[in-house]
């Protein structure tokens, strides 16, 4: 039985370093190749030694697919391709291909330049890695090789985020990456057709959350920011340079305009300008509204939001600052946080998910005394707010996607074990399909049952369809017969006669002849007629003919009558049939041996 095997190397019952291996129809695919933000040691990257102990991965993988540019989905890519070694194709969408190297370089700088780590990938490696990237367009069917094809769907998580369908023959797997089922201020909602994959690998970040309406959350967010500004506080919003940041900027920009607010809004990092430029050039990946109006007013040209300078940290008075990175684990956002944490008028709004081990995660869990490097502790007095703006599908959205795609199995990744367990139960109950949640390094295999595609001769098919009538009759299914010819890789189903002809074989006729003696005091023609009448009454549903040349035909069986030379009352019946009528012939010879019943005229 064909099997599909899935092994997460990362993101199995966890969020971070997404990396999932899929084996399907003899092909091996790596889905995402991310890093873990919560670790600084080996656990930062997926354990590629699972694939092979010694050396390069090229011969073990047919392709690598990256779902979007977040580092927990692509952060290990240069390490994998350049340091472990992989030269095959890496697929990602155009925006991902554009933005991914920038974030990788950023990440490299923080790790190597700031933390002084060695044995890390270099700028050149990022460049070399990106040369192996093949861009992917939405809905385009890309033929990786003769058998393996992939197709990207819109995922709506960040600019360029894609879900991907992997297909070999009639077997298929869909990997969602991270996705969002509700359109937001700059992106549209994820969509997939009813592609009925054998396996749907879905993220489950918000496996147990049902988020309230988007509008409410936005109002909430604006209210909190506004209140804080009113009382003279500073608001820190840690974000990643691309993605959520643009959505919140659009939100604040329109709010500032409407309320005529004067407090400055800053956006840190030199990336901003560039980031917004990417959004302008890839406007076709944003939502309907932005796409429609971009000629008149480009939503990514902000009037109220200005670039931030480090010296502004100590400026008096209220301000709103977007600073990177989003989980307060390093960089400017952490620096600002340290400065502002002590003042209860200030506020930090965490607009996205924080992985374990980061400061973001700690303060969200209510920790108010943080141990910093150098044994100092930091007391957090500022308000800490969590706003789920992170564009992941919630439980409702995940169920909705399952309903859209109609998979035969579901496999959960990118979530916490306990929450996954709950969702798994819900999925199995609601859809009556199997749901898996393997840990890292654990393999799930499901057997598939693919149908065998065969070329049927049109003659045979048409004959069958004509006989069967336009609608199938469930009570009387018609059986069709044919010969399947298997030659090299082709499978052809033809009628038996055609098969003989095509294979250049002679037909071998197997015939039987049987003489039956019968006592019947009538003339030969009368006897024959009596036989005809008798058979008519016994054999319902058969073609029986009394032919003028003195024979009776039952289907293709010939019956002849002659009188015995010695006794005219003894008739000799001659039955002759071919192998194709064997059952009937055998039946008739036995039946006629019993004689004709009385009372037949």
């Amino acid at each position: 039985m064909p099997e599909i095997k899935v092994t997460p190397l990362g993101a199995g019952q966890d969020v971070g370093r997404s990396c999932i291996l899929v084996s399907i129809g003899g092909k091996n695919i790596m889905l995402d190749c991310g890093m873990h933000m919560g670790y600084n040691d080996d656990r930062r990257f997926p354990d590629f030694s699972y694939i092979t102990q010694n050396g390069r991965l090229t011969e073990f993988l047919d392709c690598v697919i990256i779902s979007h540019f977040h580092l927990d989905h692509c952060g290990a890519l240069p390490f994998m391709s350049e340091m472990v070694g992989y030269d095959g194709p890496i697929y990602m969408t155009h925006p991902t291909k554009a933005i991914c190297p920038i974030l990788l370089e950023d990440f490299r700088k923080i790790t190597v330049d700031k933390k002084g780590e060695t044995n890390f990938f270099t700028s050149q490696m990022i460049k070399d890695c990106m040369k192996k990237v093949v861009p992917l367009n939405l809905h385009q069917t890309v033929q990786v090789d003769d058998e393996l094809e992939i197709k990207a769907y819109y995922a709506g998580h960040v600019l360029g985020a894609a879900m991907v369908q992997i297909k070999v023959g009639s077997e298929s797997v869909v990997y969602t990456g991270d996705y969002n089922m509700t359109p937001d201020r700059h992106l549209g909602a994820a969509w997939i057709d009813k592609c009925r994959p054998d396996m749907l690998i879905t993220e489950s970040t918000y496996a147990t959350t049902i988020r309230d309406s988007k509008r409410c959350r936005e109002r909430d967010f604006l209210k909190k920011v506004h209140e804080s500004i009113e009382r003279g506080g500073k608001v820190l919003i840690p974000v990643f340079a691309l993605g959520r940041a643009q959505e919140l900027c659009i939100l604040l920009e329109t709010f500032w305009e409407r309320m005529n607010l004067k407090a400055p809004i800053y956006f840190s990092t030199g990336l901003t300008e560039k980031a917004n430029h990417y959004y302008k050039l890839f406007i076709t990946w944003t939502n309907q509204k932005i796409r429609k109006t971009f000629v008149q007013r480009n939503m990514f040209e902000f009037k109220h939001i200005k670039p931030f300078d480090r010296s502004f940290i100590d400026n008096p008075g209220p301000m709103v600052v977007f600073a990177t990175p989003g989980m307060l684990h390093a960089g400017l956002s952490l620096q600002i946080f340290k400065k502002w944490a002590g003042n209860e008028k200030n506020m930090v709004i965490m607009p996205g998910y924080c992985v374990q081990g980061t400061i973001g995660h700690k303060i969200l869990n209510g920790q108010r005394k943080l141990e910093m490097e150098g044994r100092s502790t930091l007391e957090v007095k500022m308000q800490v707010e969590y706003m789920s703006f992170s564009a992941h599908a919630d439980a409702k959205g995940i169920m909705q996607l399952i309903r859209m795609a109609e998979p035969r199995n579901v496999l959960l990744v990118h979530g916490e074990a306990a929450k996954m367990g709950f969702l798994k139960g819900k999925i199995e109950q609601e859809f009556s399909i199997d749901c898996y949640m393997p840990a890292n390094g654990e393999t799930v295999s499901v057997t598939t049952n693919p149908s065998v595609p065969v070329d049927i001769s049109l003659n045979l098919l048409k004959r069958e369809m004509a006989l069967g009538g336009p609608l199938p009759d469930p009570k009387k299914p018609r059986t069709m017969h044919g010969t399947l010819i298997m030659k090299e890789n082709s499978l052809k189903l033809v009628s038996s006669e055609q098969a003989l002809k095509e294979l250049g074989l002679n037909e071998h006729q197997l015939r039987f002849t049987c003489r039956v003696q019968l006592q019947d005091p009538h003339s030969d023609p009368d006897t024959l007629h009596r036989i005809y009448t008798h058979l008519k009454s016994v054999l319902k549903g058969y073609t029986i003919q009394h032919l003028p040349d003195g024979t009776v035909m039952v289907e293709s069986i010939v019956i002849k009558v002659s009188s015995s030379a010695e006794d005219t009352n003894t008739k000799v019946l001659l039955l002759s049939w071919s192998y194709q009528d064997e059952e009937l012939g055998s039946f008739l010879s036995t039946l006629l041996k019993k004689g004709l019943p009385a009372g037949i005229c």
Binding site: T284, N449, H508, R511, F512, L539, Y542
Partner: protein, 658 residues
């Protein structure tokens, strides 16, 4: 399989393909050359045009002075210009399931089809095709509605009257298929029926047919289409280019192995080299400006203009035109320039890599930023304030019958310092200029048509090897004006099947196979046996299910076992239920081996007699005959059913079952 040809224009095709159970319209081109027969629509009152004399036949019998005006010995219709629509009477257009659009120039008749024929299907197009197509339609509507003309001339169309008119009006055909322009309302409604597709996306139509757009290299988002089932493949080639301009290169390999290739949209200027034309364009432009004249470039607002601007971007400095203002005037000028920058996925590799930097893919962004290129929605408003001469103006419509270009013709036509440079190949420049004669301005004709020429297409066809080629009849003979140029036509073996407007072609298909799926349970139950080295056969008895044009075969479910019959005696009297019919047999029964087998089964008293065709075996103990021949075996056996069945099975051992 049939092809209905609704347009006779080779580059603005409209064909309908009936393929399996689907009806597919291929493109929806609008023949706009009809507007050349009309008077231009001036934006501001033109005393010259309004003073043109009306036309009265020489004998004075026909007086159409209200409808027809005479200018420089030619007669023009004084009415809202009309376009020649695709044929609507050849087949019922409400049955069309889908319309496949290949590029934005080939969709301009869409509102006429989707809004006025009862069309209920879907239109497939790429995103750039939809967006830029929308702009071109919007522009057309805007051009027409800006200068409304209440008069609609119809009298001249009367057959009896038309016959009497001077040429070329006398000779135009299908005049009753000419219609006025649609409204924005109709455009929006038509375009709401478009479903977006990406290159190489496989779109299933009713489970019977799969269609897929391929990059054609001609314009942003332009595509050729593959229409195929599992065993038949039609390639539709329309407007393709092998030149490296801005669009993604043409995908040639996917066109391979098609049964039929429908070929339309070859270059209209087979003798003009686009690169040479571009050079001529630049030098004429520079010459005129240096002499203090203005340059007018009538053009569409998307397409070649991007390449012209790119060419000028490199040329401006070297030709010291840095201070010359370049104006692009169109109601959709801004949108067209903006849209061109956001379709990175659809651009050639060079341009694509620019957005990774991130930089706009086309250099006209820089021309705009540095104020060298300015764009305006029309000559009114800001333009009239900022207008400086000498200058270069890009504006439409290339037919010179409507749009802002009409104004510049009136303005600049009288001075020989000015030059008009034709770059669009769709209209004959002499015809375009006719209602402006006499004209003092210089005319330069450098049509730039990047579509395939005959040389390229014959090379392409050699490569992709279609079994049959269908093309407009114009491609099967040299152009009328160059009848000696046998290199300007398609010469193929077998010869291409030509079509013209209203042709109905039977496409030469031999459909022999169809795809059917054997369900796993049935597949596992099949018993293959090898009949020849490498060839195995298995007999299949199955139930066929056909749903949504997909066929599956599944095992015959066994009827529930009959309840044990009480009257055992009667069992034999029940006629046998027809089960699977016996397979056909093949092979021969070898005498020696068969005798040995008989021996093994205790049949030893066999007398063998040789005959002309084989042997007769006489089983003396049982008075039974077996006749063995190369292609048949005959068992004659009375009154001994057990023996007969034994012999039957022994014979079967030596034969193959099919």
């Amino acid at each position: 399989m049939k092809l209905y040809c609704l347009s006779g224009h080779p580059t603005l095709p409209c064909n309908v393909l009936k393929f399996k159970s689907t009806t597919i319209m291929l493109d929806c081109g609008l023949d706009t050359t009809s507007v050349l027969n009309f008077l231009p629509l001036p934006l501001v009152h033109s005393p010259r045009l309004s003073k043109l004399p009306g036309w009265v036949s020489k004998d004075g019998n026909i007086n159409l002075e209200k409808e027809l005006k005479e200018c420089a010995k030619r007669v023009f219709v004084d009415s809202q210009p009309e376009f020649c629509l695709p044929e609507k009477e050849l087949l019922d257009l409400s049955n069309i399931d889908v319309i496949l659009i290949s590029n934005y120039h080939c969709m301009m008749a869409l509102p006429y089809i989707t809004e006025h024929t009862g069309f209920t299907g879907t239109v497939y197009a790429t995103e750039p095709t939809l967006q830029i197509g929308r702009l071109l339609m919007e522009e057309l509507v805007n051009f027409m509605e800006r200068v409304p003309k209440s008069q609609s001339a119809t009298c001249w169309k009367n057959k009896e009257v038309q016959r009497m008119l001077p040429g070329p009006l006398k000779d135009v055909v299908d005049v009753w298929a000419w219609k006025r322009c649609y409204s924005m309302l109709e455009v929006n409604s038509a375009l709401s029926k478009v479903q977006l597709v990406g290159y190489s996306q496989k779109v299933e139509l009713f489970g019977a047919v799969q269609v897929s757009p391929l990059s054609s290299g001609y314009s942003l988002g332009s595509s050729n289409w593959i229409i195929q089932s599992h065993h038949e493949k039609v390639a539709y080639v329309s407007g393709s280019s092998l030149l490296t301009t801005h669009p993604q290169p043409m995908d040639q390999s996917s066109l391979k192995n098609s049964d039929v290739l429908i070929l339309t949209g070859l270059t209209q200027m087979p003798t003009a080299n686009p690169d040479g034309m571009l050079g001529e364009f630049c030098s004429n432009l520079a010459m005129t400006i240096r002499a203090g004249g203005n340059v007018l470039v009538p053009c569409y607002s998307s397409g070649v203009i991007y390449d012209l601007l790119e060419c000028l971007y490199q040329f401006i400095e070297s030709a010291s035109l840095g201070t010359t203002p370049f104006y692009f005037i169109s109601p959709v000028a801004n949108s067209s320039l903006e849209f061109s920058q956001i379709f990175a996925e659809w651009l050639c590799h060079n341009k694509q890599s620019k957005v990774y930097l991130p930089e706009p893919p086309f250099p006209h962004a820089e021309l705009i930023q540095t104020n060298k290129l300015k764009h305006y929605p029309s000559i009114h408003g800001d333009f009239s304030i900022e207008f400086r001469q000498p200058c270069v103006v890009f504006t439409g419509h290339p037919s010179l019958r409507f749009g802002d270009v009409v104004h510049f013709m009136e303005l600049w036509g009288k001075s020989s310092l000015n030059t008009i440079i034709f770059t669009e190949p769709d209209f004959s420049y002499l015809d375009a200029l006719a209602p402006y004669q006499p004209l003092a301005m210089k005319c330069v004709y450098c049509p730039i048509d990047t579509r395939l020429n005959f040389h390229q297409v014959s090379k392409l066809l050699k490569e992709v090897q279609p079994l049959h080629v269908v093309c407009p009849e114009q491609y099967t003979q040299p152009p009328l004006t160059q009848s000696h140029r046998s290199d300007l036509m398609l010469e193929l073996q077998p010869p291409p099947m030509p079509y013209r407007r209203c042709s109905v072609l039977n496409l030469p298909f031999r459909r022999r196979y169809e795809r059917v799926y054997i369900l796993p349970e049935l597949a596992n139950s099949l018993v293959p046996s090898e009949v020849k080295p490498g060839i195995s056969v298995a007999t299949v008895s199955a139930v066929l299910h056909s749903k949504d044009n997909k066929h599956t075969l599944q095992s015959v479910s066994k009827p529930p076992p009959a309840p044990p019959s009480k009257k055992r005696k009667r069992v034999m009297e029940e006629p046998p239920v027809v089960q699977a019919p016996k397979p056909l047999l093949s092979g021969a029964v070898p005498l020696e081996a068969f005798l040995a087998t008989l021996q093994k089964h205790g049949i030893s008293e066999v007398k063998v007699e040789e005959t002309a065709d084989g042997h007769i075996l006489h089983l003396q103990a049982d008075d039974t005959l077996i006749q063995l021949e190369a292609d048949g075996t005959h068992i004659v056996c009375d009154n001994n059913e057990p023996l007969r069945t034994t012999l039957r099975d022994l014979v079967l051992r030596f034969l193959q079952k099919l």
